[in-house]
């Protein structure tokens, strides 16, 4: 049996928006089957992962808090991906953002005032940006693939984090635990809904996404990014520098990952700990694609992924699903999304040997 792919003249717009939903459904279906086959309660797993977080109001605040960093990072990544700049190292930039914020927090621990938190946030943004400078430099000067450099720098960032919390930044009153001291009240993100854990990072994520959507769809900067991604030669012809765009894309995505990092450090964590890297930077890659690289779509994709993350934690306790199962569900989601994308853009034709020609 032969089959081949034939490009569709114009991919259906409706399908482009429906496929992310389809990918989630296919993930649930296949996940249920696979986990049943290997001896878990497959249906239960799907229910706990995809439905419980939605149906249980107590979990809603978790969804908001988990989706915020995913959305912020994914928005940054999506801008780079639009330009064909493949920053895979958002996790490292996220860590550096957290570290920069923590550094400022430690320096200002004896001071007080409303200026401290904005300073930390600014520092976090710059920290994430700084971690993207090296991939940008290597890519534009020496044509080194940014996928490799940004990914490898992630591990450098994690080692740096471990060194700092074990060494110079260790809390002297912390009974030897590898962690910094707690941030002061002026160094923490305020909660915006009383008696919940929903902090200022949640509205910041929404503002970032809407602002990025506006930039990408209306501004010359967004246009430049899209032209460079779609046709570098046309970009040069149109007067846009490809290298400048690579710089802008990497610095923007680094800055936003850094922002997410400092918001996490100053929010849920409240200090720097070795468990600070929580794979938000990697999960956000899936979120960016699930949201069709569109900042508004990313808001929904971030929520969907937060459901899987929160649900995964639920499933670990309620039906003893292994922690790795959540990773499998997330990967399946990306797989089904990319696969259905192919089918939206191409159609499959079976049977190359044309029998009908003889008719």
């Amino acid at each position: 049996m032969q089959f081949r792919l034939e490009k569709r003249p114009e991919p259906s717009k409706a399908m482009l928006y429906l496929t992310p939903v389809g990918a989630v459904l296919a993930t649930a279906l296949v996940g249920a089957i696979v986990f049943s086959l290997i001896g878990y309660n497959g249906l239960g797993a799907v229910r706990e992962i995809f439905l419980t977080p939605l149906l249980n109001p107590l979990k809603w605040q978790d969804l908001a808090v988990k989706s915020a960093p995913l959305i912020i990072i994914a928005v940054g990544l999506s801008i780079g991906y639009r330009a064909n700049v493949w920053n895979i190292g958002a996790e490292g930039q996220y860590v550096l953002g957290g570290l920069a914020g923590t550094g400022i927090a430690l320096l200002t621990r004896d001071m007080s005032g409303p200026w401290i938190l904005p300073l930390m946030i600014g520092g976090g943004v710059l920290g994430g940006m700084a971690w993207a400078v090296l991939p940008a430099l290597l890519r534009t000067r020496l044509q080194v693939n940014e996928i490799l450099t940004s990914l490898m720098l992630t591990y450098v960032a994690i080692q740096l984090l471990n060194y700092l919390v074990i060494g110079p930044w260790k809390d002297p009153m912390g009974f030897g635990f590898p962690q910094t001291r707690m941030f002061t009240a002026d160094q923490m993100l305020p909660t915006i809904i009383p008696r919940t854990i929903v902090h200022l990072g949640v509205p910041i994520a929404l503002v970032v996404a809407v602002a990025a959507w506006f930039m990408m769809s209306r501004s010359v900067f967004g246009y430049q990014v899209k032209v460079v991604g779609a046709a570098p030669d046309a970009a040069r012809y149109g007067g846009f520098s490809v290298n400048r765009t690579i710089w802008l894309a990497l610095l923007t995505s680094g800055a936003l990952a850094g922002l997410a990092g400092v918001l996490e450090a100053a929010g849920p964590f409240g200090r720097m700990v070795p468990s600070f890297p929580t794979n938000y930077g990697f999960t956000a890659i899936i979120v960016a694609f699930l949201g069709r690289l569109n900042p508004l779509g990313i808001i929904f994709a971030g929520l969907a992924m937060a459901i899987a993350v929160v649900g995964g934690e639920v499933a670990q306790t309620t039906i003893k699903l292994p922690a790795a199962a959540v990773g499998i569900f997330q990967s399946m989601m990306l797989f089904f999304l990319l696969a259905s994308d192919l089918l939206v853009r191409y159609r499959v034709r079976f049977g190359d040997r044309t029998v009908e020609a003889r008719a």
């Binding site: 209306r218 501004s219 246009y223 030669d233 046309a234 040069r236 012809y237 007067g239 003889r358």
Partner: protein, 513 residues
Amino acid sequence: MENTRPNRLELIGITKQFPGVLANDNVSFAVKPGEIHALLGENGAGKSTLVKMIYGIMQPNAGEIRWNGETVVVPNPKAARKLGIGMVFQHFSLFEALTVLENIALGMDAKIPARELEARIRDVMRTYGLLLDPHRTVATLSVGERQRIEIVRALLLNPKLLIMDEPTSVLTPQEVEQLFTVLRQLASEGCSILYISHKLHEIKALCDTATILRGGKKVDTCDPRIETSRSMAEKMIGSGLKDIVKPEGRRFGDAKLVVDTLSTRKSGHFDVPVDRVSFTVRAGEILGIAGVAGNGQNALLDALSGEIHGDDRNAITIDGRGIGHLDTTERRKQGLCAVPEERNGHAAVGDFSLAENSVLTARDRLGMVMLGLINSGAAKTYTGKVIADFAVKALGPGSTAGSLSGGNLQKYIMGREILQKPSVLVVSQPTWGVDAGAAAAIHQALVDLAAAGSAIVVISQDLDELRALCDTLAVINMGRLSAARPVKDISIEEIGLLMGGVHGGEERDAVPA
């Protein structure tokens, strides 16, 4: 008897449907043994699709292919070669870094020891006068020589039918003559030739029969030696031809675009840079730059448009203002617009709408940007005007560029630049792959722009186009430009010699190496 011999190839009611287009509609014709049969039609008429089905690259949806009288199905090119069908494509599939021999060996279906293959190659070359050193690296060969590799590759299989797809579009007039000699010799030995072209004088000179396609349908099969070029062209286009209307006794204004010893750096390994190029174009003048593809035309266009820019501001001047150091955006603001050869991915972004593509080059000249934000309304309005004025077949400014046919996209691109009323316009291959009707419209628009006082540079490989369109003509060869001369004072033989690298002598030697 001749008549009782079956046709070498016969197509009966061939139909091919693509999503949204009927590429071939019930096409039937026959090719006799030893016949040189022209397949004539505009771009998009369905010629390429038809031969791809004969060569087994595609399958017809309906219809029958007969080979020597027997119905056959050609599932793939390998089967076609086995039947005795050879094909020389318009775009060569050669590895530049390998030798002639290695390239041919890679394309053979059967494994043949290198020494034996070389002997056979030399044999074919000797028989047909296709002179070529089998051990030369392809990168060092001219386009005409590369085509010879493809021909030799096809001839090694002793084909009974040779399909030539637009073979002369990249050749000098002398090379065309050599090619015709080879084809005539092959035909005299009984090999049929299916010759695809839209160049009417070539078909008149070479072919015994011509089948004319229009819009996927066969219009006529005729004898090109009896028909006139005009009558065949009208069948091909389906309506009366329009000639370029050039106002008589045109006078040129002051020098507008002056290029003074412009050079570019060699960027890629197989890239030809421009080398100390100088010329002047006056207001109202159209300068043509002829040359075989790959002689620095791309570098010249990029250097003029600003995609490559040097430090010497006075290497290029417009009305005396040095612009040699400016980038494309700044040059456009100074009145210089350019259209590169490659439409998709260079002059336009296929995935973008036409309105978005207008933003690419017209955003500053036509005020489509305010405070860093794009005024998409202005872009749509302008795009609508381009579509209307240049009769672009598109649903509207929202259509993606990639959904347009090549000719329509080119009309849009030319319209996008011309309606900006640039004081200098540089275009490469303005009508490459464009049907005759659209080409005439583009030519007229260029003439009208010149009449309004702009200076125009047309880089093209189509000598007929250059001679009809231009006032002065220069030839580029290996990055060097010959002196520009009035078109009426320069013969086609001279142009051919210049294209082949034979310069008048003094101006080339006068430059110290």
